[in-house]
Symmetry: C2
């Protein structure tokens, strides 16, 4: 099966007193370093002894059934729940406890051991800002509205299908930023100028570009065999858009081989580098 060694499949449990989203992301990163096939079982909201016992039983049964140690990534902040879970025979990777202990030593203060402290509920200001950012971003997708652009934190520009919409939504969702996005279209290239609504907001503009070959593939999936998707047209649009961004001194990056998260992170790094060690909005 594997091209290195044949390793029996393992069961990986993600056990959390919250959503388990952080534990899940970490488990994926760590496990991607091994050539291992595994099934993943997600047990969220383990916030009392009874649920911890139920998780423990489930894990123990898996061990009994297979004779292989299940792999358990857990984010539990209450030591009693950790103790219960640890009664199951498994490889226990305590994502929170592992780092709380050295911090306790270094800081000389006791951890709070309370569930849900990193959690934002619907009444917090950060949460409201985030919902407002999502609504703003939806209302300003694809140049839909020129209103309230002064409220935007970032305005993305680029040719159609260069990745503006998912990047905008990710920035709104993850960082609570209000992100408008505007397509650069053939009419703009003919006039040789940015859409006029954007002229006053040049300091907020950030561009996305993309390899013409890749753009053509993406557009063919949408509109097969159209002029819009043709490689010739994609080359023309990308070249014009890059020329315009260079002329207008708009910073830009290529989305070609990047994930949404990488594009978003690169934009934020770049904008911070240009605005100095700025007030960074925390991720939410």
């Amino acid at each position: 099966m594997s091209n290195q060694q044949e390793i029996p499949a393992r069961t990986v449990y993600i056990v959390s007193d919250g959503t388990g989203i952080t534990a899940e992301a970490l488990a994926r990163s760590v496990l991607s370093q091994f050539n291992l096939s595994y099934a993943r079982i997600h047990i969220p909201f383990v916030d009392n002894i009874e649920k911890a016992r139920s998780a423990k039983r489930q894990i123990q049964e898996e061990y009994n059934r297979t004779g292989l140690l299940p792999i358990v990534f857990s984010t539990l902040v209450i030591p009693e729940l950790v103790s219960v879970l640890r009664e199951a025979r498994a490889l226990h990777l305590d994502v929170i406890q592992t780092f709380v202990e050295p911090l306790r030593m270094e800081l000389g203060i006791a951890p709070k051991q309370e569930i849900g402290l990193s959690h934002q509920n619907m009444e917090s200001t950060e949460y409201k800002n985030r919902i407002e950012a999502i609504n703003f971003t939806l209302a300003h997708d694809d140049g839909q509205s020129n209103k309230e652009l002064e409220e935007a934190d970032i305005i993305l520009v680029g040719v159609s299908r260069s990745g503006k919409t998912p990047t905008s939504l990710y920035l709104a969702m993850q960082y609570g930023l209000k992100v408008a996005n505007y397509p650069l279209i053939p009419e703009d290239f003919e006039r040789g100028r940015l859409p006029s609504a954007l002229e006053r907001h040049k300091n907020k503009l950030f561009g996305l570009t993309i390899q013409p070959e890749r753009l053509s593939e993406v557009r063919h999936e949408r509109r097969p065999n159209s002029r819009y998707a043709s490689l010739e047209n994609c080359r023309y649009e990308v070249s014009e858009a890059e020329g315009m961004m260079n002329l207008e001194k708009i910073r830009y990056l290529s989305s070609t081989s990047k994930s949404i998260e990488e594009i978003a992170t690169a934009i934020l790094s770049d904008m911070r580098a240009f605005s100095g060690p700025a007030q960074e909005k925390p991720p939410v």
Copy 2:
């Protein structure tokens, strides 16, 4: 300042060979357990020796300046880069390495030590599915379209402002799920039936409800002093919507005190519980 002990502020560094999003989420969770004020500095894309040296210098200078150990959460998979970073005087919390070692021991296989393995680029199938899911979800927000509902993975229903839109987008973005959402409106209550487009898709429906008091607050922010936002009307709509969901046997949960992530996780747990230990789409 603090209501327990006064602790000097620390600088927390997030150093990653990728976006650092996982390290950042983990750092927030762990640090929320301490009554600590801190500044956070994000150093992403540290994927070669030179960048690792630059990060090391920056951290060392912070120590030299303050005499306090900076706190470093790092996700670096290449041991040489870890070694360079560790030359800085700091409290080093190696998020990946800490868990790779016990896994190596248990599995008896060597880690790959390659950057970007958990990363999806624009050419991967998962990535394409995710972008398609985001586009589908945008096109099916707020009952905009009845087309292609058979392609939907989930259809959320609930009164206006119960949290359907951000939850739908989160599920699409994070899990690559195609999520449509439909408002339940007074016309539906008068007819006493679900919107007709949804009848055929009852197995995909999931409801959101909300406390009328909270709904009224949220609606007042949008349309102050409107009948739409009045507590009386909110009570009527919520009561009718819950009645309809009970009658139609649609599972639902209250979004009142939950974050988007918690709502999304709870929906997925519930749907999995009802569909058995199903093919779980991996998070992306």
